[in-house]
Homo-oligomer: 252 residues x 2
């Protein structure tokens, strides 16, 4: 297995997938390998929304969500540190092992979804500058929005300090800048996206992790404003599979 | 009428209340006077909670809420610029006319109420430093929490800039520092409070405004942690009148 992304390239040819699951999420599974620092991120066909209250299976969704590999690969070429080590096959990518910080960073270029509802502003309004929000990852609490004061005033997260929050915020701006342009070249509007970061065990620093796909971004066709993302599933608009496929085709 | 607080003292003796209402809120009314820069803030006995969904009349509440006069008077002696011009009588204070910014600033010293529920942290936890939150005043939207990015990224508020948000944030910290000590000397814990600020027509600068009372603060007895504030009404704990009276007595 040749891998242009991995700093430990020599080792990678020996990577073998173990039948041992480290983490099983709503739409993906992380498998261990023979290298304790390397995992295999497998995308399945499950679709969930509203904290798991809405569920379905979308055929081939796991394949389309490997769009993540293309995006992480592009970010690698733009010198963003990520957990991505390479695309393995249709449904799998090789990633380094990280401890994910329980903070979702949402970047918004256009008003949509919860922001529109909470503040009574119509979907489609372009913001004056990218808006960054933090959400505390906690299923029981339905991932509430938090501010820096909550995180540090309440000591919400162990081993997480203000400089790390600043770092991931700056990374989020930077990733947004890169991907906005990347999508625009493919006639796609990057409306908003959810990013996750974590501490990498091997290199011992903070990297971008998780996935970046139509499940975690709002993506609209630039000409028609047609939604080509998970909102088609959330709002029962139909054509989920076709939209994800369309995004993949434009990115290939 | 003698008034030690007013910078335009000579004029105040001529102030006459007009039977003309400028603003009628849930628990108070603002009357015009013969001076366009001066208003009379009248506290009534209505109690409301949850954006007006819960309502009652608490006898003499308006008198107890004139606790505001005592607190604003103390803040005046501590050199905080406020709209307060003086206490008129049991239910009324004289204030300068301000345009209230539609942002509520909440300062928290101890976890309680919505913060406890949203983040699953038990009431009574002492925070590492005062937590400051902003809420967008909008009855239809149920006063959603907002961050600076929302206010300026969406242009939520006309004629309101980042330096004004910084100013009122710093004022909120300062007011909290002063009032925490003020209440502690009277064996009362200042758990949290909601502050409002506005632009004063006359002096043309930003001042602390609105009211500061058991309706807008959470106040607990320091020895027993007994609630002596509006939570007695919100949560049907009984003894609302007695608690407000107790606060007034400790402040006199």
């Amino acid at each position: 297995m040749y891998n242009p992304f991995d700093p430990y390239n020599t080792k990678l040819s020996y990577i073998e997938k173990k039948n041992e699951i480290l983490y099983s999420g709503k739409a993906k599974t992380l498998f261990k390998t023979n290298d304790p620092y390397v995992l295999i991120q497998h995308f399945n066909d499950d679709a969930t929304a509203f904290n798991g209250k809405k569920k379905d299976v979308i055929s081939n969704k796991g394949i389309y969500n490997n769009i993540s590999s293309i995006i992480f690969s592009h970010l690698h070429f733009k010198n963003i540190n990520t957990h991505f080590l390479g695309r393995l096959n249709d449904r799998e990518m090789l990633v380094s092992r990280v401890d994910i910080y329980p903070i979702e960073v949402v970047v918004r270029n256009i008003v949509a979804g919860s922001l529109s509802k909470r503040l009574g502003i119509e979907e489609g309004k372009i913001v004056n500058f990218p808006i960054i929000e933090y959400y505390y990852k906690n299923d029981e609490l339905d991932d509430p929005m938090v501010i820096s004061d909550h995180i540090f005033g309440l000591g919400l997260i162990k081993d997480f300090d203000k400089s790390t929050l600043e770092l991931i915020t700056n990374l989020a701006y930077h990733v947004n800048y890169i991907l906005k342009e990347f999508f625009e070249k493919r006639n796609i509007l990057l409306v908003d996206m959810k990013l996750e970061f974590g501490f990498e065990h091997n290199r011992k620093f903070t990297v971008l992790a998780d996935e970046i796909s139509p499940d975690t971004c709002r993506l609209w066709d630039m000409t028609t404003n047609e939604k080509l993302d998970k909102d088609r599933f959330r709002r029962d608009l139909g054509g989920v599979e076709e939209s994800y496929k369309e995004i993949l085709n434009r990115l290939l």
